[in-house]
């Protein structure tokens, strides 16, 4: 009996402790979040189902590594399911680079991402590119942005 009571207390204690865990609080807070609509809802869905919108490059490199290819495979799968959506790949350069070379590196990274998405079956007209060079925070990456 005493043992049972002790176990019960342990269980209650555990439950009480569990109530403090982050995922429970997160679920409690959810109804307060605004309901996303239109392009914002699509963007959120794309980001969630593709495991993110960014791929990263090594310094001075425009090569797509295995993590980038995995991420782009997920992006491509989603884009094939949503042929009505248009995306723009925004490439970034490296901060230590000079301005115009960084612009070209960003453009090249964006173009490499675009080529890979097209290789995976995404229609070419669905994907455009641009470059931010080293002119914006968030260097060394390419971001897939839903335009419409």
């Amino acid at each position: 009996m005493r043992k049972a009571a002790f176990l019960l207390a342990l269980l209650l204690g555990a439950t009480a402790a569990e109530a403090q865990l982050p995922f429970l609080r997160k679920r409690d807070a959810q109804p307060q979040q605004p309901v996303l609509q239109g392009i914002d809802a699509l963007r959120a869905e794309f980001a969630a189902q593709s495991g993110g919108t960014m791929v990263y490059f090594g310094s001075e490199s425009t090569l797509l590594g295995p993590p980038a290819r995995t991420a782009l495979a997920l992006q491509a799968a989603w884009l094939r399911r949503h042929p009505e959506v248009v995306v723009r790949i925004e490439g970034y350069g490296d901060s230590l680079d000079t301005r115009d070379h960084a612009l070209a590196v960003g453009a090249r990274r964006a173009e490499d991402v675009r080529s890979y998405l097209v290789l995976l079956g995404v229609p070419a007209v669905q994907v455009s590119t641009t470059s931010w060079g080293k002119e914006r925070p968030g260097l060394g990456r390419a971001v897939t942005v839903l335009v419409r």
């Binding site: 425009t62 000079t98 070209a104 590196v105 453009a107 641009t130």
Partner: protein
Amino acid sequence: MKRLILPVLLLGLAGAAQAQQPAATVIAVPPLTSPDSGDKGNQMLAVGWNVTQAIEADLRQTAEVMPLRPNRDDYYSYPEVTAPTFSKWRSKGAKALVTGFVQGRSDGRLTVGCYVYDADKGRELARKGFIIGANDWRRAAHKCSGLAYTAITGAPGIFDTRIAYVAENGVGEARTRRIAVMDSDGQNQRYLTSGDAMVLTPRFSPKASQLAYVSFAGGRPAVRVANLDSGQERPLVAGDPISFAPRFSPDGSRIAFSMMLGANSDIYVVGANGGLPQRLTTAPGIDTDPSFSPDGSKIVFESDRGGTQQLYVMNADGTGQRRISFGGGWYAAPSWSPDGEWIAFTRRGQDGRRIGVLKADGSGEQTLTSGPGDEGPSWAASSREILFQRTAANTRTGLYRVALDGSEPRQLATPQDGSDPDWSGVAD
């Protein structure tokens, strides 16, 4: 015996000191006088004093000429303009003298006379007269400063020139950038773009009547050309390619620039008034930042075709491409000096970016700045100074000028943070 040796020793010491730090030529700048009398004379003397102070400020910016501070009470008669008392200026240490007069005209405009003398030899070096609007005295001062500078150094004056740059406000995503144009003394600043779209790399046409720059207004970086007088502007090339790094040819008829074709950046040239771009480079990799030689026959550019960014020179039609930088590290953003002697560049190493120069054949390389955040060299019309951008550790940017003599870079005052400077030639 001792008495004889001492002056020789002193001379030797003075020589050594001069060799270490190139001495600037001291120039006297007495107040401009006037042949007019009465109230009009007083008005003209007041304008003359403005001009005198502007000349002093102009010359003080240079590394080669050092003005004596003018004294307004230092009365200077009209006849003295053409017959100066040289001993007076020699006794103050001046090697040269710039002086002149302001005279009112019956049509309300002014005549400004400007005279430059070698005070040591007591002879005239140059003289020039300008007729200007009553409020245009600053322009007359710049022309007079240029006359003195050229007479002393043999190089074109840089005072009647303009500077274009990118004026920056705010930080991070919220940073706005506008193309700004100002006189080289910091006066008459105006903005060409509103700040709605990011802009980069303004580049003057040779007479500073047009400006090519990169705008992100259409979502992708693209070169636009603006007419500075009419305010009209247009895209450099049709369609929607990514294009950047524009530079005018010395005669103003062509613009060389970079354009992306797929993942490949190559150098193209197109008529300044439009037309079909002609492709000059075909190497895989990134070719960018073209800059014409002053005679327009050659183009220096950067390419990473060999694995790292290096400088290459080619004929203006794209033939005869050859590498000229071999010093180790990465070389970028070359700019050919107006006198054809030097090519300025940004050199990247593990410890940052610095400004340097080398000859067109690749020899004589010198590093001019200590970095670590320097880039984007642009020549003064004199070919003796370089304007560049320095980024501080806190990411704020500023414009600096450095002389070829190895002296310390000096910051140029701008109303906001500034990047991507371009120094025009002499307008005339």
